[in-house]
Symmetry: C2
Amino acid sequence: MQRHAAVMGAAGALGTTMMKTLRARGWRVVGIDSKQVVDGLRRPPVGMEAGVMWNVVVPTNGSNPSEQKKHVLGEMKLMGFGNEEGQKKLDAVLCFNGGFAMGNASCDDLLVSVEKMYGSILVPSFLGASLAATFMRPGSLFLLSGALAGGNVPTPRILAYGSAKAAVHHLVRSLSHETSGLPDGTKVIGIAPDILDTETNRVSMPNTPRDNWTPLGDLANKVCDWAESPQMCTSGTIYKVITSPSGTTYDAL
Amino acid sequence: MQRHAAVMGAAGALGTTMMKTLRARGWRVVGIDSKQVVDGLRRPPVGMEAGVMWNVVVPTNGSNPSEQKKHVLGEMKLMGFGNEEGQKKLDAVLCFNGGFAMGNASCDDLLVSVEKMYGSILVPSFLGASLAATFMRPGSLFLLSGALAGGNVPTPRILAYGSAKAAVHHLVRSLSHETSGLPDGTKVIGIAPDILDTETNRVSMPNTPRDNWTPLGDLANKVCDWAESPQMCTSGTIYKVITSPSGTTYDAL
């Protein structure tokens, strides 16, 4: 069976690695991002072979969340996705949308941070839920990106980010219930990484030991394992992604 | 000592009752809402007597969250509030901003709900935190409105509302830490009511028994008690507001 995945935040570091990993393992992948995905195509030509990336660019400037949803769903339909007989279905929807903002209550730009975290974390997570509800095959995987700072751990100096991630954790737990509107048997999980080994983190923390940084390929392979065998996941769970010199573990938060 | 409070969501049912209760107990009150507060004045005349309501109208149409903050802080300064010697300070900031939206992942207007809950729950809560950080006297009360559906309880059919309330609960817990940017000794609490006895609820649930509906005056008096004696609260706590025929209780969630 040819598997199809939608990756949101596809232009980011983890999203890019996820796209490559899925392609290498034979998936067809639609990359969704506000930025053009590297070597992605806007729409697939007819008869496209397995493993090639397709690309949906989400219009964020001046476009409200409903318009973004309409655009993304419309593009998916143009690619032949749908829930009717003979139409393509998604076997995984994976949201790696990011964004970060420091700031406590006395920061002048607290509300700027709130708006940024809304646009880069909350809206894409709900957009992913709409995508999963509309196009996913029953029994597939829906994954959202949570955080270690945002669950039960207070974040007094990163208020907007922590609160947005708490909202995402709540969404994971809520979507795992059968009345959530997702296809029957969908497994809904979150990941809560510590520090990912990205180029950006290497530049911003040049002198920090990297023993406990998670290699993007490790995480992407694990997510691909889950997507290929959703029964390995417990729906409603946020998985802590913790790396040590002996490897990376994925335990429930 | 003349006490001053800022009430956000002042034009709503609970906000209106809170304003009246505070006035009756000798407080000066600034009502903040996107709607004009009934019998409120835009700005106080010089030498205004105790107990009169002042009013700040938050511009929401076409104004982003940062502009809203700038407007509200500017109006407060025009009224003489500030943290310098001789300037007025707030002894309580109370956020009763509301809003509600049903909807699971398969709803067409999920993203519309997300945007509404962002504007009516998240932005005002963070705006309240900025107000508290800028104008509150050390050792005062900052109160946010949480919900029973939005803490640890999943909300599969009210996704946007539940997630926004989970973000508010996270904010309460984070703001109670000393590095959160609020004045020293601020008590930060949330309230999580069940059903409030409002006109709107009476109209929408005409045949529901009201034994367990919380009278607005009961809750407003309790909040006023907390505001007058913040040492009665445990900072970082969400208080469940549960009413039975024998009265209303306020236990930690």
